[in-house]
Amino acid sequence: MSTTHRVLVVEDDELIRESLVDYLADQGYQAVGAENGQDALEKLEANDPPPCLIVLDLMMPVMDGPTFREEQLRNPRLSDIPVVVMSAYRDVKVEAKTMKASSCLSKPLKLADLLQVVRQHCSAA
């Protein structure tokens, strides 16, 4: 499949977002950044085919992570895309569970952990 190496990184912190996108690109993935949930939805609507994984921050302006997840699950075209939740907020585990996310990462991220999760869902180009 041509889509299996695309990863969407939804993160409002510009420095983190760009670093992650860079890193995933280095590792051979096509990474796309979105500033918040709203931006992510727009990018998902506009881009076809969908990514193999969404890396989602929780606390973001305009549309936060949980709201994005609700919207995503409501849309049958998007609902199957696995989501890994990352947050600097405490209780990220609990939050990930309630959001039905496939896994969670707490900030500061260990890049190796991120890579491991990405590898579970996507194959590098």
Partner: protein, 864 residues
């Protein structure tokens, strides 16, 4: 008398007369009739309107005045109203109120002193001949127009605990009217009055406390919630830049060829500083959580062998693989919180590596044979001094006076022990000074239970919701009233055996007359006390003093205990012969419960205060403790930057990112430190002549990058010569905080900043075009840790506007928030003008600082 409960009063009356009859039968002496009747009327009054103090006091005065056939009687008493203020009130009997209206309240004359101080009863046959009489100016005795008084009897009304509520005063125009018997009767009545006033006061203070408590509980709930939000936000705000820095550092490491050793070394040091700092943040968050809520635990099926291996891998990262030896045979299965146990063992292994001799490995040995509990020993070479061991588990000691640069916070062992304890286990640290080793032994039950909650822990779900709380107040008051209505009277013969019984007594004690008459009074005492001896001693006291009162436990027929107020009165016939005792018992269980509940809530409120204090302390701690590692982080970063002058552009980009993250972190820590000192009341202003427009221009210049990144157009309208004596740095902070808020909440939309003079004030106005601030939140947002928007969307500790408000207030100005008619929030700061500031204006402000220089009253537009 105020019959607040007509039905109850009626019943009580019927019962009273029945009991009177019972008693009269038992005693069979007419001489006591009036006195008994007086007693019953008093208890009846208590029963009918126990909490109507005025009615009770009036009744007491009337009954006593009639019982001793005084010319008139008065009761002067102190009450405390719902606001906690004290009043002197009085009731009169035998004369119309007008007869005393013009005299004012009794003063603390030598005659009255004995009564109002609770010192003694004063009974004189002719008061005008008493040495204490007539000592005070201006009247030297009774003021003109006073009712004639010769016979005088005054009895203090004081509680069993010695509080003087007031005094009962009786007078008669003839001499020698009051006898010892009258004195005894009035003192009994006074005891009842005191009990009634005390009950009423408990009730009132409960009502008062209830209101204070419900406010407090609301505040407490909010504090608990805020503390949690606060810690979460703090975690978020600290970890995000730290995370960005570490990610950039990781990427940087991957970009630098391994051959370039000085550089890879610098990056490695940078990363390890970053992770150490992250550990400190985690520890501080854990510490706060433990202090306010205890250690949270989520036990799941887990394998200790895996937990240990991972913990060792983490804590020994960067060490030679032989530095830690794990001796564990196969899987060790149980129920634990794997994250927390991982943290515990990481701490222990890290400690062992840090303190142990570098040439000998740290030895981790697991004993998992016991089906009930597991033992893990972490051993290193080098013995810790024995006297240091208990200290190691205290927070922030870590065996050192203060945390030094590279030693961490001294929280590791404290948190580890909390984790072990939460699992139902423990950590034992031993130094074998002989063998030169230190062994930490962790004992854990194989299956940990989630920790049992502390009954008054500060968690929200254990606080009753408000309506319920208020309902409880109502219920409590009802119970209180009923409790006061519950009294019994029975008679004892001179030997202390029950001589008569009554329906009230049956209701309270549970015995029928047939079961109890003839039994010793000690049957009502708790069996654990030496009941018979205690009862006998108390009867003796009643006999000697005429009356004995106490509050103590009593036992019902069914063996249940209740808290009772008991008054035992020695009864004598007209010849003075002892004929027995009348015992009046009230069940005060509910009142005692209410008092206990109040003190429980006091504990609760103390905890709320503690929580607030902890939060402030935490803020101070975090900002203070993080400063040092942050400084070292920035130095490491500088070193990396220096070493990579000639690097490829993608390396430079990453270094810049790491630098920006670290600066953000540094700014955050500084602002926390600043907020801490403001919260602690340390805000010293350096006032100098200033031009508001200049300060704003200068600040906006610094913020230009942030404003552009937020996609906001900046519209300024800055009047010239808005002059005052202000603290330049602090006013800059006001501008920065308000503009940062505006671009945060109104991102992508224009932000307007204006300065102008308005009357006595220089005004700074900052407007955004975001959602605006709801009206009900416009005052709240200036409190510390408050925020205008949801935590789900925006980080930030909620200190910005608080700091603004504090700075403005220190300048003698004010700040208000409202919404502009076309939407968006508008914050308006007013600082007092000082017309003389212009004359004194120092030339130290070169025009070049004010850039760009727009003409007065013009708009400039900065677009990105």
């Amino acid at each position: 008398m105020d019959n607040a409960h007509p039905t109850c009063a009626h019943e009580a009356e019927a019962e009273s007369s029945m009991e009177t009859a019972v008693l009269q039968d038992a005693i069979g002496t007419d001489g006591l009739e009036r006195e008994l009747e007086a007693l019953y009327r008093i208890t009846g009054s208590l029963s009918a309107s126990p909490l109507d103090l005025d009615a009770t006091v009036q009744e007491v005065t009337d009954v006593a005045t009639q019982a001793i056939e005084a010319g008139f009687g008065a009761f002067f008493y102190n009450v405390v109203n719902d606001q906690g203020e004290s009043y002197l009130l009085y009731s009169l009997s035998g004369v119309p109120k007008e007869a005393f209206a013009k005299f004012g309240l009794p003063r603390n004359t030598p005659l009255f002193h004995a009564t109002f101080s609770g010192e003694s009863i004063v009974r004189v046959d002719d008061v005008t001949k008493d040495p204490r009489y007539g000592k005070m100016a201006p009247h030297h005795g009774m003021p003109p127009g006073h009712l004639p008084v010769r016979s005088y009897l005054a009895v203090p009304v004081r509680s069993r605990r010695g509080t003087v509520f007031g005094g009962l005063f009786f007078g008669h125009a003839d001499t020698g009217r009051f006898t010892a018997r009258h004195e005894r009767l009035v003192s009994t009545i006074a005891a009842y009055a005191a009990a009634a006033i005390e009950s009423s006061m408990v009730f009132r203070s409960m009502k008062r406390a209830e209101r204070a408590q419900s406010r407090l509980v609301a505040e407490l709930r909010e504090t608990v919630r805020m503390n949690d939000v606060f810690a979460g936000v703090l975690a978020h705000d600290l970890r995000n830049p730290l995370g960005a820095m570490l990610t950039s550092g990781d990427l940087l490491a991957s970009k630098i060829p391994a051959s370039n050793e000085p550089e890879t070394k610098a990056v490695r040091r940078l990363l390890s500083s970053g992770w150490r700092m992250n550990r400190m943040v985690e520890q501080l968050l854990d510490f706060t959580r433990i202090r306010t809520q205890g250690m949270p635990l989520d036990p799941q099926p887990a394998n200790l062998a895996t937990i240990l291996q991972e913990a060792i891998d983490e804590s020994a990262a960067g060490q030679p693989p032989t530095s830690v030896v794990l001796r564990c045979q196969g899987d060790v299965l149980g129920t634990w919180d794997d994250d927390r146990l991982g943290q515990l063992f990481s701490n222990l292994v890290r400690n062992a590596l840090h303190h142990g001799a570098s040439n000998a490995p740290v030895d981790v040995q697991v004993n998992g044979q016991d089906p009930a509990s597991i033992r893990v020993e972490v051993q290193n070479q080098g013995a810790v001094p024995g006297e240091l061991i208990p200290k190691l588990f205290e927070p922030f000691t870590g065996g050192q006076k203060r945390p030094s640069k590279n030693k961490g916070l001294g929280l590791g062992l404290f948190i580890s022990l909390e984790i072990a304890r939460a699992h139902g286990g423990t950590i034992d640290l031993r130094a074998d000074e002989h063998g030169g080793t230190t062994i930490a032994t962790v004992t854990l039950p194989r299956h940990a239970e989630p920790p049992a909650p502390d009954p008054i822990t500060l968690t929200e779900d254990r606080l009753d919701p408000m309506p319920d709380h208020l309902w409880r107040a109502e219920e409590r008051n009802r119970l209180l009233m009923e409790s006061i209505r519950d009294y019994s009277i029975f008679m004892l013969d001179p030997e202390g055996r029950v001589a008569s019984w009554s329906p009230g007594a049956e209701r309270i004690h549970g015995y029928t007359a047939g079961e109890i008459v003839g039994k010793p009074v000690s049957i009502f005492y708790p069996p654990d006390a030496d009941a018979a001896a205690k009862a006998a001693a108390e009867l003796q006291k009643a006999m000697d003093l005429g009356r004995f009162e106490e509050e103590d436990w009593r036992i019902r027929k069914d063996g249940t205990r209740y808290w009772a107020s008991v008054i035992t009165i020695a009864m004598r016939d007209s010849t003075g012969r002892a004929i027995g005792f009348a015992t009046v018992t009230r069940d005060l269980t509910e009142r005692r419960k209410a008092e206990d509940a109040l003190s429980a809530e006091r504990v609760r409120s103390a905890r709320a205060e503690e929580a607030v204090r902890l939060r402030d302390e935490f803020l101070a701690l975090v900002s203070h403790e993080l400063r040092t590692p942050l400084a070292s982080l920035l130095i490491q970063l500088e070193a990396v930057r220096d070493k990579s002058d000639s690097c490829a552009p993608d390396v430079t980009l990453r270094i810049e990112r790491a630098a920006r993250s670290s600066q953000r972190l540094a700014a955050l820590v500084e602002s926390m430190l600043d907020a801490t000192s403001i919260i602690n009341g340390r805000l010293d202003l350096t006032r100098e002549p200033q031009d508001l427009g200049d300060i704003v221009r200068e600040t906006l210049e610094d913020l230009r990058g942030a404003i552009e990144r937020a996609g906001c157009d900046l519209l300024t309208h800055l009047d010239r010569s808005v002059l005052g004596r202000w603290d330049r740095v602090r006013v800059r902070q006001i501008v920065a905080n308000l503009v940062s808020n505006a671009i945060k909440y109104g991102a992508g939309r224009p932000v307007e900043v204006a300065t102008y003079a308005d009357g006595q004030y220089g005004v700074l106005e900052v407007r955004d075009h975001g959602k605006g601030i709801p009206e009900h939140e416009r005052e709240r947002i200036f409190g510390p840790f408050e925020r205008a928007a949801s935590i789900r969307n925006y980080g930030g500790l909620g200190l910005g506007l608080f700091v603004v408000q504090q700075i403005v207030a220190a300048h003698g100005g004010d700040v208000v928030a409202d919404n502009a008619t076309d939407g968006g929030a508008r914050l308006r700061v007013r600082l007092p003008l000082d017309p003389e500031a212009e004359m004194a204006r120092s030339p130290s402000l070169p025009e070049s600082l004010a850039c760009p220089p727009p003409t007065a009253s013009s708009s400039s537009r900065t677009t990105n």
